[in-house]
């Protein structure tokens, strides 16, 4: 080991050269991926090129549909999605991830982005989402309220409190003065839902839209306390958007009557 290190000591200037080359390399790779969108975005009017949308996990089904619709309406465009927990998406945006649009599942996670001055203009609320309990098909645990989740022997998963669905669930539990100890705090709403779909957990507190999307793999139980924790979903154009033209057009589609129809079809509430 020592020998190797000593041997490289003499041509040390090369180390600086190597580091510079590394920097150049990384600069290259990031500009390389951008260039694909650039030539198209120069033209004004008709949107074209690639749009990158970071969206909350709960928007997966409806946004995928809207993305296909957008590509059909504007030939030459391509919508790329990254779905995940709103908080981790927000963290990647403030960390410099290349995105054009951010759709969060809570104003709090959107605030991370606006506080970092990474959004262009004020975010707009485009839908609202209510919590619902997802349980096994046929509801074998006979769950009919939030309180039933605290029953002994019931395996409940919640979203982690950092994630909007977890924060909302905690808010609903606090509002009804319930203390619930889950078996796991999942990293996003889809992970929580999956645990019920796989029958590993008996119930999860997720969004109405997730229960909707899971079809007959889970049974949904609505509970009145969910009214205390309705999540507003804000959407915003990002400041460093490479393709602002097409990004604006995508946001417009989401907020249009046509877009709202897709979203309410998925179980979202009107803003």
């Amino acid at each position: 080991m020592t020998r190797t290190v000593r041997r490289t000591r003499r041509p040390l200037p090369w180390a600086a050269g190597g580091a510079a080359a590394l920097l150049a390399l990384s600069a290259c790779s990031s500009s390389g991926s951008d260039s694909s969108a650039k030539p198209d975005s120069s033209g004004s009017g008709e949107p074209s090129g690639e749009v990158t949308v970071f969206a909350a996990a709960s928007l997966k089904e409806s946004f995928t549909t809207l993305g296909e619709q957008f590509e059909k309406e504007h030939p030459g465009t391509k919508v790329t999605f990254s779905f995940g927990g709103s908080d981790s998406l927000a963290a990647s945006i403030t960390g410099g991830a290349p995105a054009d649009v951010f759709a969060a599942a809570s104003p709090k996670t959107m605030k991370i982005v606006t506080d970092a001055q990474d959004a262009s203009g004020a975010p707009a609320t485009f839908v609202r989402n209510e919590l619902e309990i997802a349980t096994l098909p046929g509801n074998p645990g006979k769950i009919s309220s939030l309180k039933d989740l605290t029953k002994a022997g019931l395996k409940v998963v919640l979203c982690d409190e950092e994630v909007p669905c977890g924060a909302a669930a905690q808010k609903a539990l606090d509002a009804s003065r319930l203390k619930l100890t889950p078996v796991s705090y999942e990293q996003d709403v889809k992970a929580a839902l999956t645990k019920v779909e796989l029958k590993e957990a008996d119930a999860a507190v997720v969004y109405r839209t997730d229960v909707h999307a899971a079809g007959d793999k889970v049974a949904g139980v609505e509970f009145p306390e969910s009214a205390d924790a309705v999540n507003d979903y804000p959407i915003a154009l990002l400041k460093d958007a490479k393709n602002a033209e097409a990004a604006k057009a995508f946001i417009a589609l989401v907020r249009s009557a046509e877009g709202q129809k897709v979203l309410s079809g998925a179980g979202f509430l009107k803003p």
Binding site: T4, R7, G18, S88, A91, D160, E162, V183, K199
Partner: protein
């Protein structure tokens, strides 16, 4: 490390600085090799250095003494050690089987054993759920016969970590066994030892460095395990939330805490590797 540099290194003690041979080697490093090599070195070192640079040293003591961090660290150390123990108990015999017993389909079995090495850990987690989950093909019997469910438990963490880490041990031990001279075992057998006694009294001491190296690798892999753990065992502080999970979730809300936690993992890894370096080297 390439072979040619390995050889002089083992004889490094006999080479004096400034000896003719050394000088020739020093001037003989061709640039087309040196530049990518330094680039490679920088590529591996810079991110770790960045972690050190960005560590919030001011708030570090407060971050590290928080009960959550200790809880996660303790759980990580316990689970990684148990997972290594499980790997040793079933992995060493498996390595022996692969190295010493000629059975049909041995190549295929070896390939299957190494599969978790290249499998994305999340896929491993899903596979574990399918097998050992409450509704899994084995798990449903565990549940209905013994009332044992593994997901969301500390035992689940150990299983997820062992699943991902054991191949490292098996590969390492099998390699050592192949390199070890089987004639020692044969000699033991001619002296009347059973095959198991020969394994216990002759083979095991012979391959101990290889086992140690494999155990360290497996332990380190288990300590860093994330994907299979969060998929199979979930995330609950004190029960299944190991350090990597805590780092990931802290990064979402509190990057400073995540950096501090990462530093702890880095320090633990360095201490372990440094402590066992000599044994590892001799096993190579």
């Amino acid at each position: 490390m390439t072979l040619p540099t390995d050889k002089p290194r083992t004889a490094a003690g006999t080479l004096r600085p400034g000896s003719p041979r050394r000088r020739r080697v020093r001037t003989g490093v061709p640039l087309p090799l040196l530049i990518p090599a330094l680039l490679g070195l920088a590529f591996l070192i810079v991110p770790l250095a960045a972690l050190l640079v960005r560590t919030p040293w001011q708030s570090l003591p407060a971050q590290l003494t928080s009960p959550e961090v200790w809880q996660a660290l303790k759980l990580s150390l316990i689970c990684a050690t148990l997972a290594t123990g499980v790997s040793l108990v079933i992995g060493v015999p498996l390595a022996w089987l692969l190295a010493r017993v000629d059975f049909p389909g041995r190549g295929l079995v070896r390939a299957l054993v190494t599969l978790p090495l290249v499998l994305p850990p999340v896929v491993g987690g899903v596979a574990l759920l399918m097998a050992l989950g409450r509704n899994g093909i084995v798990g449903q019997w565990l549940d209905s016969w013994f009332g044992i469910t593994l997901p969301f438990t500390t035992a689940g963490v150990v299983i997820a970590e062992a699943f991902v880490a054991m191949p490292f041990l098996v590969i390492s031990v099998e390699g050592t066994l192949r390199a070890a001279d089987p004639r020692y075992e044969e000699a033991a057998a001619t002296l009347g030892a059973s095959r198991f006694t020969a394994f216990r009294r002759v083979t095991l001491p012979l391959i101990a460095p290889g086992i140690a190296a494999g155990a360290v690798l497996a332990w380190a892999r288990a300590l860093g395990e994330f994907g299979a753990t969060i998929t199979f065992a979930g995330n609950f502080p004190g029960r299944t939330q190991t350090m990597p999970l805590a780092v990931y979730l802290a990064l979402q809300s509190d990057p400073e805490a995540a950096t501090a936690l990462s530093l702890v993992l880095l320090a633990v890894s360095i201490v372990v590797l440094a402590g066992l370096r000599d044994r590892w080297m001799s096993a190579g």
